[in-house]
Amino acid sequence: MNGDAAEKIIEIVGLTRRFGAKRALRDVSLTVPRGSVFGLVGPNGSGKTTLIKHVLGLLRAQTGSVRVFGRDPVRDPAGVLVRVGCLTEENDLPGWMRVDELIRYMRAFYPAWSDAYAEELRQAFALDPAAKVRTLSKGQRARAGLLVALAYRPDLLVLDEPSSGLDPLVRRDILAAIIRTITEDGRTVLFSSHLLEEVERVADHVAMIHQGRIVFDAPLDEIRATHRRLTLQFAEARPRPPELAGALAWEGAGREWTAVCAGQSGGLRAAAEAVGGRIVEEQDLRLDEIFLARAGAVPVASTKE
């Protein structure tokens, strides 16, 4: 990682978004540094797609600001989008276009388009140039979308749940595209996904959104280091789990209670002892376990404010 201040590719400050009475995003602030693979996770309806639409300029910031490459994507869509490659969940390519027409159309917009690379991708993805997009299977359509998003080597690759509903072969292609992007200097990836083991593999920064708020936003190593599963054993059986600062989710019964906790190891140990429990087991957590604990832990606040 760069030692000196990495350039902020995406900078979101204080973003709020309402749809009617519903608040989709509440005071969200996020920074995506150059060269990182930034994973955005969150339950359905938490605001991930809304956030990504703000980054792409499809939505206007109601409060706060969004800057991509230092520019406002709403004010300057041409200048921003020419450096961004995008693959969304719906991936609506016009069905009537043939693959070769699609390539010919898209390459006119991006000066950095590389014909050789596009052809290499097309052959790797086995896309028939004469086939119309609407005759392609879902996976092939995703590959076509990936092709036109990668062929000009964008500085920022934005993927909104790219793997949803796709078979493992296509998912592997998408992951490979992310890795290949990141191995070339200076390029950044922002992607949102439900497949947390994929996020865990490729992301180095992860942010979780829940009900429009950022729950955590940190390098993946830090997240894994600060979340642990502790099993506490008590002297006598307890009907309810004790109050433990930093505990997100409890389960268990009687004398042994297991909690997913957030916090530094030493502090957790002290807190556990303070409530009279003995730590018998301590485990690392996977990202999806952290996610479940976090998503379940936040109380369901009223969305109408």
Partner: protein
């Protein structure tokens, strides 16, 4: 909801309850007005000739009827179903409901036919009859019901080829719509006509039942090109074609493929029909009958001035312009890049929104596409006119027009070319004039604007009727008109300046492009004024009246508003 029939009926009615409520409200208002007016207050002042008010009410009734027709014909069909697709228009998600196909088809059809028939009865009974128009209640009601039923049946039938449905629907509906008029003119009793139309209803149900059953079984055949034909129209890889020189060219190509052919194809279809009418002389016979019958004095005068082929020609050109206006209503669409809209939203499709183009460039691409579309359409028109007038020698009759005798051949040629250029330009204006509306991407705005436009037309018609027996008021208004026009032009220019300021401030358009556009508008106004001055007969409107007129009529703010509308839509 205890029975499946009720549940189905509720499902069909529910998405359109607001539209139906609006229609019912309009009907109530007009009925109430009719009640409170003394009987015959709106009756025509003169026995024949002044048909404006009843015509206005008939128009509004037709408007409402058309709306209901559209509602219920598509009631069991998503409102975005494309007529030009081959597969069934029946919502396939309803196929898995545990009801028999007979019930599934019957419920929407009965609802549609019933609403159409009741709609007519309500209009005729409560609005038209009190005004003094003695219209039949029975056969038009059954006619509208039959039209709705047949439209539903044809929309639901799965056609093997893509555009086959469009080709079948138009003639069938046209025949059904015109048959009663012919029958009545030929003297059939209205009871017989009603009975005949009523027989169409079960026929429609039968067709619909077979169609929906086939679609439900998945039995619908699809025809494809035979392989020899497919390879003859061989695909040439696009990559061997020259790459686009600029993003603007690529986007123009895209718009052309999406919407460019709608105007030429529509014109072409109408042109073929017109050509048949002109070549077989049917049109002239009809004109002759109408002129001889002493109906609306205008026709015989027109024939005298322009000769029968001339009247036909003018009608055709008028239809072309009308079609341009109709097609232009959707030209600004940024909603669809394909048959299906994206996620059901009405706004800008993400594929278009994510192009690295400014809003101005997106609009420019549409304008360029409209130019190509106009030229293609007019080439078809010119070919058809040539075919109609040339080989048959009708052009000689046309050349005998009294108007042409007073000018030299050169003047005639110049006038014709100028006229043609003007018509082509007018077509282009009609195609692109309402871009801004489609680009706002707000469904409520589009509908509100449609209702507003309709209301303005109605108000003008009412005003005209109210004024016609008072010539002195008319004269006073005409004298005041120039001053009103000056104020209007000033307002228009002020609005244009304000819009320009907003455009510049938001960076949607560069100052140079803005200057060029403003200059272009000025040049066009000057050109129209010069042309008008040349073509107008002596003693016509003075120069500055021409200027005012041109400045008012030529759209300026609609163009200026287009980038703003698109920006409003693209970034929500």
């Amino acid at each position: 909801m205890r029975s499946p029939v009720l549940a189905l009926a509720w499902q069909v009615w529910r998405p359109y309850r607001r539209g139906l409520a609006v229609c019912a409200a309009v009907w109530l208002v007009l009925a109430a007005l009719g009640l409170f007016m003394p009987r015959g207050a709106w009756a025509p002042a003169a026995p024949e000739g002044n048909l404006i008010i009843p015509a206005a009410i008939v128009v509004s009734a037709l408007f409402a009827a058309a709306f209901i027709l559209m509602l219920f014909a598509f009631s069991a069909v998503p409102i975005d179903a494309q007529l030009d697709a081959g597969d069934t228009g029946f919502p396939t998600r309803m196929f898995t409901l545990p009801v028999s196909t007979a019930v599934l088809t019957a419920v929407p059809m009965v609802q549609g036919a019933a609403v159409a028939a009741l709609g007519w009865v309500a209009w005729a009974g409560a609005v038209l009859r009190p005004v003094g128009m003695d219209v039949d209640l029975m056969w038009p009601a059954v006619l509208t019901a039959a039209l709705v039923a047949w439209l539903q049946a044809l929309v639901w039938w799965p056609f093997p080829l893509r555009f086959l449905r469009v080709i079948v629907v138009a003639p069938v509906l046209a025949v059904i719509a015109m048959a009663p008029a012919f029958a009545l003119a030929l003297g059939a009793p209205s009871v017989a006509v009603t009975a005949g139309l009523a027989a169409l209803l079960p026929a429609a149900y039968g067709v619909a039942l077979v169609g929906v059953a086939r679609a439900r079984r998945g039995d619908a055949p699809t025809w494809t090109w035979p392989s020899w034909l497919a390879s003859a129209l061989a695909w040439r890889p696009s990559t061997r074609r020259a790459p686009f020189a600029s993003p603007l060219q690529a986007q123009t190509w895209f718009e052309w493929r999406m919407r460019g052919l709608s105007f030429p194809v529509t014109v072409g279809l109408v042109a073929v029909v017109w050509l048949l009418i002109a070549l077989t002389g049917v049109g002239e016979q009809v004109i002759g009958i109408v002129a001889a019958g002493g109906d609306a004095a205008g026709v015989s005068a027109a024939v005298a001035a322009m000769t029968a082929p001339g009247v036909l020609l003018v009608q055709f050109l008028g239809i072309v312009l009308f079609l341009a206006g109709v097609v232009g209503a959707d030209l600004g669409g940024v909603r669809l890049v394909d048959q299906k809209p994206s996620g059901g939203t009405f706004g800008c499709h993400p594929f278009l929104a994510l192009r690295p183009l400014t809003d101005g460039e997106l609009i420019l691409a549409k304008l360029r596409m409209a130019v190509r579309s106009t030229l293609t359409g007019w080439s078809i028109v010119l070919i058809v006119v040539f075919l109609a007038l040339g080989p048959t020698g009708k052009w000689r009759e046309l050349a005998g027009m009294p108007l042409l005798q007073t000018h030299s051949a050169l003047e005639v040629c110049a006038g014709l070319s100028a006229g043609l250029a003007g018509l082509v330009f007018l077509t282009w204006l009609l195609l692109v004039g309402n871009l801004w509306l489609g680009m706002t991407g707000r469904r409520w705005l589009v509908r509100a604007f449609g209702a507003f436009a309709f209301g303005v037309c109605m108000a003008l018609v009412l005003l005209a009727h109210w004024l016609s027996p008072h010539p002195e008021t008319v004269a006073a208004l005409m004298a005041a008109l120039p001053y009103v026009a000056v104020v209007a032009v000033l307002l228009k220019l002020l609005l244009a300046a304000w819009l320009a300021r907003i455009l510049l401030r938001r960076g949607l358009i560069g100052p140079r492009a803005l200057g060029i556009s403003a200059a272009a508008w000025g040049v066009v106004v000057a050109g129209v004024v010069a042309l008008g001055g040349q073509l107008a007969p002596v003693g016509g409107p003075s120069l500055w009246r021409l200027v005012l007129g041109a400045a008012l009529v030529l759209p300026l703010n609609r163009f200026a508003a287009a980038p703003l509308a698109l920006e409003w839509n693209r970034h929500r």
